[in-house]
């Protein structure tokens, strides 16, 4: 395959907390190719947002920091570039939208100004052009009467509308990558589908790649070509969406599928046990305590195994040498 647009290698992100250091992302490898949508899936608390904020270099300071790894974007390591260069990347080449549309917009500025601000920062447009472009963006994300709504304040809009504004803002400078961190989690089901459709459509139109973070496999099925499953800060399975849905391999992924409510079956099958605390992960595989296929080797870190072309699992169960 050609070189990925965004190539994360061995990312380790840590927080220093009162209870000591905690590794929220532990050795993450992730490749996002141009034009693709990659789903980053896992239960809440598994480190998805931290991974995204690491890419943007927006980790909460001073607690969070990237301890190891490389984040190659078009060949450049974003962890090495200056803060000034990083500001030219943010919102311009890589932009991000967040889970909470209700609180992600500044309450004291009009939505128009908040879009305008990004345009003015990155694109050499006159005031009028930037203002016009802000209207165009609102139109693009499907807000009716954009020329009037541009003067609205965030509190005058619904959650779905605000998320559309966030998308307009994120896409105003035509970024190459958009990171969407659970963009629909806080929204009503009907609105969720609209926002996902919108992201897919704009991805085509603008020709960007999307890193879609979600805990919902249903969302992945609708929108992603590639999937990466995370558990307790580590990647456990990577595959194309088709492969993952046809033959999920990692016991954790299997558990995720089993826990999706199905029409014919009224009983939910949540994964037994609880997510282990990041402060005292077991030696070896982090999932072992909840795993139905646990074996002696699980006390050692499992290897990555390619069970079919481009379908990787990090699990001893598929280790043919030892079986």
């Amino acid at each position: 395959m050609n070189t990925p647009l965004l190539n994360i290698q061995g990312l380790v992100t840590q927080f220093s907390t009162r209870r000591g250091p905690v590794t929220a992302v532990d050795g993450l490898d992730l490749q996002l190719h141009s034009g693709q949508t990659l789903g980053l899936v896992g239960e809440s608390g598994c480190g998805k947002s931290v991974a995204a904020l690491s890419i943007m270099r927006l980790l909460p300071k001073p607690a969070g920091r990237v301890a190891k790894g490389r984040i190659l974007f078009e060949g450049r390591d974003l962890l090495e570039v200056s803060e000034a260069d990083m500001r030219r990347v943010r919102g311009n080449e890589i932009s991000m939208i967040f889970q909470e549309p209700m609180t992600s917009l500044n309450p004291v500025y009009t939505v128009g100004f908040q879009i305008y601000e990004a345009l003015q920062k990155h694109r050499k447009l006159s005031r009028r052009q930037a203002g016009q472009e802000a209207v165009n963006m609102l139109q693009l994300v499907g807000i009716p009467e954009p020329a009037a709504r541009i003067n609205d304040y965030p509190h005058q809009m619904s959650g779905g509308m605000r998320q559309r504004v966030m998308i307009a803002m994120a896409l105003s400078c035509r970024p190459k990558v958009m990171i969407a961190d659970e963009p629909t989690t806080a929204l009503d089901v009907t609105i969720q589908a609209q926002i996902l459709d919108l992201i897919s459509r704009l991805k085509q139109e603008i020709g960007m790649s999307v890193l879609l973070i979600t805990h919902d496999l249903g969302v992945v099925a609708e929108t992603c070509q590639q999937v990466l499953v995370m558990y307790a800060g580590r990647a456990v399975e990577k595959a194309s969406a088709v492969d993952l849905f046809e033959k999920p391999a990692h016991p954790y992924t299997l558990g995720l599928f089993a826990s999706i409510p199905k029409v014919e079956d009224e009983i939910l099958h949540p994964i037994s046990g609880v997510v282990p605390s990041l402060y005292d992960l077991p030696e070896g595989c982090a999932f072992q305590d909840r795993c139905a296929y646990r074996q002696a080797q699980c006390l050692k870190r499992p290897p990555w195994i390619e069970i079919s072309p481009e379908h990787w699992v990090c699990c001893w169960r598929y280790d043919t040498h030892h079986a």
């Binding site: 943007m56 927006l58 909460p60 500001r87 030219r88 990347v89 943010r90 919102g91 311009n92 932009s95 991000m96 967040f98 909470e100 609180t103 992600s104 917009l105 500044n106 309450p107 004291v108 601000e117 990004a118 920062k121 990155h122 304040y153 509190h155 005058q156 966030m166 803002m169 994120a170």
Partner: protein
């Protein structure tokens, strides 16, 4: 701001002023001390005293006295000062402007110094600057104004003789009285020596008066900034690639400023109170000193007039704060 809201506030103002006038009227007459006695001295004979009392209307019933007072006030007549025999309104007006000059200067210092210190402390949390300025703020709020004023006078006027210790302007300098604020008037008149001289006179009293509000504003600004810094929309602003300065000023301070405005408004009231002490220390010819002296002489009309003016100012400041709030926060703008 809609008209009916303004009218409602004006009605409030009238009710408050009525209440205040009754209270002050009664309280003044409850404290011991007879104006006639004070005016005529210890050895005045009873006939003289009785004559003066009836001349001042003090022999009438309290209710009648208040009724006469109220009627006069409603016609803009605050009475005549028994000490100077000049209309109280006239005396108050001149002194009010002196107090206003001092309070405004203190307010400006408190706002700029306090907000700047608070912002830097929050942005550089746990830095040396943060610890130092918060320590100073703690010292500042607990500082006795009287002691501070005297120390400043000792240091800058007595020891190093770089700043004057009293008054608003040196002898021999003359400034027209257009706005009543000497600093402004001297500047408008293009009188540079007088302008610099009046600034020098203003500096120590304004610093003294500003100490406590500066400390309060710095602390509020810091805590408010720390809270807003963690808001999602500040992260959004960073994610847009905006510069640090824009994120701090436009997206953080602008929101963090709302509680600061309230505190500033409340402190303007405190400031007027603090002005009484500061004016006494620095012989500043303002309302604070005037009200104290009038009280000593049981100059009822003067004290009542001053308190009414203070109350009016407080209510207007509150109105101004409300108005600023509406300007600053679109969420509370009334919309149809």
């Amino acid at each position: 701001m809609p008209i009916d809201y303004l009218i409602r506030r004006l009605v409030h103002l009238l009710i408050i002023l009525f209440g205040v006038s009754v209270l002050v009227f009664l309280m003044l007459r409850m404290i011991p001390g007879d104006p006639a006695q004070l005016l005529l001295g210890e050895f005045a004979n009873p006939e003289e005293l009785a004559g003066l009392r009836s001349q001042l209307g003090l022999d009438k019933s309290l209710f009648t006295q208040y009724w006469i007072y109220l009627k006069n006030v409603l016609q803009g007549d605050l009475g005549i000062s028994i000490r100077t025999e000049i209309p109280v309104a006239q005396e108050i007006f001149v002194r009010l402007l002196a107090t206003l000059e001092l309070s405004l200067a203190a307010m400006v210092i408190a706002t700029f110094l306090g907000v700047a210190a608070g912002v830097i402390s929050a942005v550089k949390q746990y830095s040396i600057f943060d610890y130092a300025s918060m320590f100073l703020a703690l010292v500042g709020v607990s500082m006795p104004i009287f002691w501070l004023g005297l120390m400043l006078i000792y240091l800058f006027s007595v020891k190093f003789s770089v700043l004057p210790m009293m008054g608003r302007l040196s002898m021999g300098l003359d400034v027209p009285s257009w706005s009543g604020l000497v600093v402004v008037d001297s500047l408008l008149a293009g009188n540079v020596p007088a302008f610099l001289d009046s600034l020098k006179h203003l500096l120590l009293p304004a610093l003294t008066l500003a100490t406590i509000p500066t400390a309060i504003v710095a602390r509020i600004t810091r805590s408010s900034m720390l809270e807003i810094q963690n808001q999602d929309y500040v992260r959004t602003a960073r994610a847009k690639g905006l510069s640090n300065l824009v994120v701090i000023l436009r997206h953080t301070l602008r929101n963090a400023f709302l509680p600061v405005v309230t505190v500033l408004g409340l402190n303007l009231g405190l400031l007027l109170g603090g002005a009484v002490l500061t004016e006494t220390i620095f012989s500043w010819p303002g309302l604070g000193r005037y009200v104290v002296n009038s009280l000593m002489a049981r100059d009822y009309a003067a004290v009542q007039g001053c308190i009414l003016i203070f109350a009016t100012l407080m209510v207007m400041i509150n109105l101004l704060v409300d108005f600023l709030y509406v300007v600053l926060d679109p969420r509370i703008r009334v919309h149809d």
